[in-house]
């Protein structure tokens, strides 16, 4: 079974707009990661945030983590058509060594 659920399931925006995706998870974690998957390709790591961190930035990406609500958000600013992909959150549950993925958000950025 999957640990996380992303919201929304699908998101369509215009180039230049910001895209926000949310992730909720079920159990205590050591860290939370976000990955991108282009159609028919493998997953690419975007960013990792540890359980004692609340916010992290990487280029146009901003991730927040609220462990009290067991939720995270990924913000992509000034989106580009090349950002079109599926985005997944993944958690490293405290009692296991497994990396468990959520259900994903499909982002479509129109030129």
């Amino acid at each position: 079974s999957q640990q996380g659920e992303e919201d929304p399931q699908a998101l369509s925006i215009q180039e230049g707009e910001n895209a926000t995706m949310n992730c909720s998870y079920k159990t205590s974690i050591n860290n939370l990661q976000w990955y991108r998957q282009n159609s028919g390709r493998g997953l690419v790591h975007l960013i990792l945030i540890r359980s004692n961190e609340r916010e992290k930035h990487s280029g146009r990406l901003r991730v927040t983590l609220d462990t009290s609500k067991k939720s995270s958000s990924l913000l992509i600013t000034a989106s580009r058509a090349a950002d079109t992909a599926s985005y997944f959150c993944a958690t490293d549950a405290r009692d296991t060594d497994k990396l468990i993925f959520g259900t994903g958000t499909r982002l479509q950025v129109f030129p």
């Binding site: 999957q2 860290n31 990955y35 390709r41 493998g42 990396l99 993925f101 259900t103």
Partner: protein
């Protein structure tokens, strides 16, 4: 190697046939994961190796699924007597951490298995 390599990229199997999927992780990576991804879904955990030891196989859907990593590098996922519900993309990932999921995971391109 430069990244995680999986072979074959595509496999069509007749129902009842056995298949073997190969994963070459990044050299020196201790941890290796296998995932199954159905169309439109997120990757589902299958099994996890730390070096040659299979520490978690709780995600393997049935005893038809078997994975090994005998020398702590290359891993093979074997599916016996394939069924149509086994059709999916099988992803392999490796990490440098001895605590498998504590750091960035590097994924291969996956093997798309179609059972007909």
């Amino acid at each position: 190697g430069a990244g995680v390599s999986q072979s074959p990229r595509y496999k069509v199997a007749k129902r009842g046939q056995d298949v073997a999927l190969r994963c070459d992780p990044i050299s020196g990576h201790v941890s290796l994961f296998w995932y199954q991804q159905a169309l439109g879904q997120g990757p589902e955990f299958l099994t996890y190796f730390q070096n040659e030891a299979q520490l978690d196989k709780s995600g393997l859907p049935s005893d038809r699924f078997f994975a090994e990593r005998p020398e702590g590098s290359v891993s093979t996922l074997k599916i016996q007597r394939t069924q149509q519900e086994d059709s999916a993309v099988y992803l392999c990932a490796s990490t440098s951490s001895i605590r498998g999921a504590n750091t960035e995971a590097f994924f291969g391109q996956g093997t798309r298995l179609t059972v007909v």
